[in-house]
């Protein structure tokens, strides 16, 4: 089941994209993947989807010029394209014409070369630099003059007189090493500029030299709070390419694990949200229940955070006989405790004041910025992958897609709270009916995928997580791309936080619930 990708010339790209957006309502840019096809040239794969009809379209464009590859931007059509194009520029050196912000996204600004190009040797010209990382206050826009020559102009990000505060990379509330440069006017936030890449490990590049089973170990380390779902996506993508069917037992186990993982993640979300708004006590309440869940994970899969559980065509171990009882106990305990979370924090007047009407994102904004998951659903966007493109058992279980329309911090918070209950509901439907069967489908020891492009998305704890694999028929993939669920969230921070107070920046960031290793990859 390879992806059908239409090729299109760079010159016609912009008009065609505009047509797709206007006529076929392709308003959601799922992915923008940079590619290096060697001899054929450098290019980009665009994956589009319509939020209304659910139609999808995949396009690619490429240019043979390796010295000065230029492709017109689509950042004026979809807001999220801006940050995606910066990523492609960073990795492949493709200059997106008329993109107002052509800087590197993850790597240092003084990095030499474009590491994901197949002919690039990053080690040679990039020694371990001991000096401070330069951070430019200006950015470059490339455009074509009328005679067809490439030219550039500079834009200012921060003027010298701006009061810019560095939030991060070491900051208690950025949940890791996120760095945001925030322009303040008194207490009011005027502009946010995320500086990414502090925990960039180049997993996409590393994966190109690993075999498929080895690659699996990497996915747990992206969004570590959605470890199970990420690995599920990767396994499903590979299984799809191999046309491998897994047994119902495996499907049941995987679905239950995904939902338990989602509960664990949302419990941590609650803890972080309360901590970031200063309610340190509530922080411990959910950690108490999450500990039960961790114990279940530990007993069954031998890991609390990084489980390494899903494998290609199955799962690592069969579940223990005690599993169903443990999970049911947990579900009961959590339901009993659930009102405490709301009593101490969510319904509290101070928390309500901090959340209601703060950081509002409109429906158009979230779609254009690709904000998926509970955060996107808080603005009324029906984007749950479990409903849109059902996988595993999600077309058989009964559950509601939690939708709110306010789009503020409160809606995002409540969405996650309700999703905990919804996940409990799913788990309770499945836990007593796990069928007997193999927990690992027999397959060849050496895995080679057929030639083609494969994509599989799952609904991870904080949005659509997708795995894109381009295979040339080898043991290792030719190109792997992960649709990060956190990158669009960070991209939307600027829109959500403008003209809010500085303290709201933290609350909005917490309600977006991004995990940094997933953004930086």
């Amino acid at each position: 089941m390879t992806l059908e990708i239409t090729t299109i010339a760079p010159a016609e790209l912009h008009a065609e994209m505009l047509r797709l957006k206007e006529e076929r309502k392709m308003d959601y840019l799922r992915n923008l993947i940079g590619m290096d096809w060697g001899e054929e040239g450098l290019g980009v794969i665009y994956m589009l989807e319509s939020s209304e009809t659910g139609e999808t379209a995949n396009l690619k464009t490429l240019t043979a010029d390796r010295e000065n590859p230029c492709i017109p931007t689509v950042s004026d059509i979809w807001d999220i394209a801006n940050i995606y194009e910066r990523e492609v520029f960073d990795y492949f050196g493709i200059k997106f014409l008329n993109n107002p912000d052509m800087r590197r996204l993850f790597l240092r600004e003084d990095w030499v070369g474009y590491p994901l190009r197949k002919d690039d040797k990053p080690e040679q010209e990039n020694p371990l630099r001991m000096d401070d990382e330069p951070l430019a206050d200006t950015t470059t826009e490339y455009f074509l003059r009328e005679d067809g020559t490439l030219a550039s102009r500079q834009h200012t990000i921060f003027a010298p007189e701006d009061y810019v505060v560095n939030v991060g990379p070491q900051h208690p509330s950025t949940h890791g090493v996120l760095h945001m440069r925030v322009k303040l006017d008194g207490e009011t936030v005027r502009k946010i500029e995320p500086v990414l890449g502090y925990i960039h490990r180049g997993i996409e590049k590393i994966s190109e030299s690993l075999t498929y089973p080895q690659m699996l170990a990497m996915t747990d380390r992206l969004d570590y709070l959605s470890a199970m779902q990420n690995r599920h996506a990767m396994c499903m993508c590979i299984e799809k390419a191999m046309e491998l069917e897994v047994t119902p037992r495996i499907q049941y186990i995987r679905t239950i694990m995904d939902e338990l993982q989602r509960i664990a993640s949302h419990l941590i979300y609650y803890a972080c949200m309360t901590m970031d708004t200063g309610a340190l006590t509530a922080f411990f309440y959910t950690f108490r229940e999450r500990e039960m869940l961790c114990k279940i994970f530990e007993d069954n899969f031998g890991g609390r955070l990084i489980m390494n559980y899903n494998t290609i065509g199955g799962v690592q171990y069969d579940i223990l006989p005690d599993f169903a009882r443990q999970v049911k106990e947990f579900c009961q305990a959590l339901r009993k405790r659930f009102h405490e979370y709301q009593d101490i924090y969510t319904t509290n007047i101070i928390a309500q004041q901090r959340m209601i009407g703060v950081g509002t994102l409109s429906l158009d904004e979230v779609i254009s910025r690709g904000v998926t998951g509970p955060s996107g659903r808080a603005s009324g966007w029906h984007n749950d992958v479990r409903k849109r493109h059902p996988y595993a058992l999600y077309d058989q279980v009964e559950f509601n897609e939690i939708i709110r329309t306010e789009g503020d911090t409160n809606a995002r918070h409540w969405n996650r709270m309700d999703e905990i209950l919804e996940s409990l509901h799913i788990v309770e439907q499945l836990i007593d009916n796990i069928p007997e069967g193999e927990y690992q489908v027999k397959r060849k020891p050496i895995i080679k995928l057929p030639e083609g492009d494969f994509y599989q998305a799952v609904e991870s704890s904080r949005g659509e997580f997708g795995v894109f694999i381009e295979s040339k028929g080898d043991k290792s993939p030719y190109r792997v791309h992960f649709r990060s669920n956190g990158l669009p969230l960070v991209g939307a921070m600027d829109a959500a936080c403008r003209d809010q107070k500085f303290a709201d920046l933290i609350a909005i960031g917490a309600s977006m619930d991004f995990v940094i290793p997933d953004i930086d990859r």
Binding site: T281, D299, G302, D343, I344, N348, I350, P445, I446
Partner: protein, 171 residues
């Protein structure tokens, strides 16, 4: 939130605050969840699926099962296993690979279990010893075969391993 006037607002706010205070004081008198390590070391029970450190089980005669085939080394995504082997001649004149040193870098290990599933002879496994902290990074490079140990004699004649076929299906 519905519109409230000044007095209603104050009353509503006080009510939610009191609910919060009630909840927190209830927890105040509840059981504390703290686990007191290392006092609870004896009661810490880990399931045998926990992967803390790779080990090579030796039997009572100081014998291991590893035939130095190198599959685990190949399966490792992080190059944290390094096997040194030598060719020796057995009594019946056959050449045979023998393990000299099985080096495992705990500091690099991702605990993905690929090596254990790749092993055709169940020669390695993960153990449940979690207190692995050391002061020097070099001490994390462990040699798994004990000094003076030898290959365990198989009850049935040893077939020359054909790695790919004997590889277990479970990854």
């Amino acid at each position: 939130m519905e519109e409230r006037n000044y007095i209603q607002g104050i009353l509503h706010a006080s009510k939610t605050l009191l609910v919060g205070l009630k909840t927190s004081i209830k927890i105040f008198f509840e059981h504390h969840e703290t686990e007191q390590y290392p006092e609870n070391r004896d009661t810490l029970i880990f399931s045998d699926r926990n992967r803390f450190c790779l080990e090579m089980p030796h039997n009572e005669k100081n014998q291991y099962k590893c035939i130095a085939c190198g599959l685990c080394q190949m399966a490792c995504p992080n190059d944290s296993i390094h096997i040194t082997s030598e060719m020796v001649e057995t009594e019946d004149g056959k050449k045979k690979k023998q393990l000299v040193k099985y080096e495992y870098n705990l500091g690099q290990c991702m605990f993905c279990n690929l090596c254990v599933t790749a092993c055709p002879h169940d020669a390695i496994q993960f153990n449940q010893e979690f207190e692995n902290a050391v002061f020097d990074k070099k001490k994390l490079i462990l040699t798994l075969n004990h000094p003076g140990s030898t290959l365990a004699e198989k009850p049935r004649p040893v077939v020359t391993p054909k790695p790919l076929e004997t590889l277990k299906t479970a990854e």
